[in-house]
C-alpha cells in the first residue's frame, strides 16, 4: 500500500490504474481527524516506550503529543482495485489542495488519461527523471518543458543526492503519521 509523495504522482498512477481496470477500480476520499481517545494515545506512547526502551520519565516528557487546541484533519485519497489488490494512497492536510484534488477525481472518473488530467508537468520519458521531478517538482516542470535533456543529466549525475531525498521523504512521512 504505497503512500505516494506527491499529489501529482498519485493522480498519475491512479489514472494508469483506472485505465487498466476502469470497471473495478474505486477511489476513496477520507476526511478524518486523528483519533484523540485516551486509549489510543496511551497505546502509541507505550509502543514508543517499548521501541526506545528508555527511562519512563524522560520519554514521556519528550514524546508528550503536542496537543493543539484544534486538531488538524487529514485528507487521505485512496485508489483501490480489489481484483488485483493494487492500492495507491496520498495523504495531505492542506486545505489549498482540496479543490484541485476533487476536480482531478472528477476528471479521472470521467475516464481522463494521464495527459488529459491537465497537470502542469509533462509525463517524463525516463523513470530516472521522474525521481528528480518528485524531489523538485516546480523547477523540473519548466526544465522538462524547455530542455528535456537537463533533467536526465541531473538524474544521472547525483545518485547520492537522490537517495538522500528519498530518505528525507521517509522521515517526513513518519512525522505525518505521528502528528
Amino acid at each position: 500500500m504505497p503512500l505516494l509523495p506527491t499529489s501529482h504522482a498519485y493522480l498519475e498512477q491512479s489514472a494508469l490504474l483506472l485505465q487498466a481496470y476502469p470497471d473495478t477500480t474505486r477511489m476513496t476520499t477520507k476526511y478524518n481527524f486523528p483519533s484523540t481517545r485516551p486509549s489510543n494515545t496511551s497505546r502509541k506512547q507505550k509502543s514508543k516506550l517499548a521501541s526506545s526502551s528508555a527511562p519512563t520519565a524522560t520519554t514521556t516528557t519528550s514524546t508528550t503529543p503536542q496537543t493543539p487546541t484544534t486538531p488538524l484533519a487529514y485528507l487521505t485519497l485512496k485508489t483501490y482495485n480489489p481484483t488485483t489488490g493494487i492500492c495507491l494512497k496520498y495523504r495531505t492536510n492542506k486545505a489549498a489542495e482540496v479543490g484541485r484534488l476533487i476536480t482531478s477525481l472528477g476528471k479521472l472518473a470521467a475516464g481522463a488519461s494521464v495527459a488529459e488530467l491537465g497537470l502542469s508537468n509533462p509525463v517524463p520519458a525516463a523513470p530516472a527523471a521522474a525521481d528528480v521531478e518528485m524531489a523538485d517538482a516546480p523547477e523540473d516542470a519548466s526544465a522538462g518543458a524547455s530542455t528535456p535533456v537537463v533533467p536526465a543529466a541531473a538524474a544521472a549525475a547525483p545518485p547520492k543526492g537522490d537517495a538522500g531525498g528519498k530518505g528525507g521523504k521517509g522521515k517526513k512521512k513518519g512525522g505525518k503519521g505521528r502528528r
Binding site: A73, L75, V98
Partner: protein, 128 residues
C-alpha cells in the same frame, strides 16, 4: 444502502456532514466513487459514477453482532448519488465546492508562518 439521492439532496446532506465533523473536530467522512456498472454490458457508453459518503460511525448498532454497548448514538450516515457521464463536470465542480467549504479542519494556507513553532519538532517544521 438507501436509494441514491438527487444531487441537491446529496450535496446539502454532505455539506451538513462535513460541517458537523469539522465542528466536532473528531470522526471522519469517507467519500467513495466508482463506476456504476449496468448488468447489460454496453461498452459504447461510459458508465455513470456512483458517489457514496458515509461517516465511519462504528458505534452505530450492527445487526450482525451483539449489542455490546447501547450508547445513545445516532445511526451511521450513508449517502449516495449517481452522476451520469454527461453531467460529471458540473457535478464535480459542485462537489469540489462543497468539500472545500466543509473541510475546514485542514491546514489553512496562511498558517504557514507559525508552523515552525506550532509543531514540536524544529527539524520537521523546517522540512515540511
Amino acid at each position: 444502502m438507501p436509494a441514491p439521492l438527487s444531487h441537491d439532496a446529496f450535496f446539502s446532506s454532505l455539506s451538513d456532514l462535513l460541517t458537523k465533523t469539522s465542528q466536532q473536530s473528531r470522526g471522519s467522512v469517507t467519500l467513495t466513487q466508482k463506476p456504476l456498472l449496468n448488468p447489460t454490458p454496453d461498452s459504447s457508453s461510459k458508465p455513470s459514477i456512483l458517489i457514496r459518503a458515509t461517516d465511519g460511525n462504528t458505534n452505530a448498532p450492527n445487526p450482525k453482532t451483539h449489542k455490546v454497548e447501547k450508547k445513545k448514538q445516532s445511526s451511521k450516515v450513508k449517502l449516495s448519488t449517481v452522476a451520469a457521464p454527461e453531467e460529471l463536470d458540473a457535478f464535480y465542480a459542485r462537489y469540489a465546492e462543497v468539500c472545500k467549504a466543509g473541510m475546514t479542519g485542514l491546514k489553512k494556507r496562511d498558517r504557514k508562518k507559525g508552523k515552525a513553532k506550532a509543531k514540536g519538532g524544529a527539524a520537521k517544521g523546517a522540512k515540511a
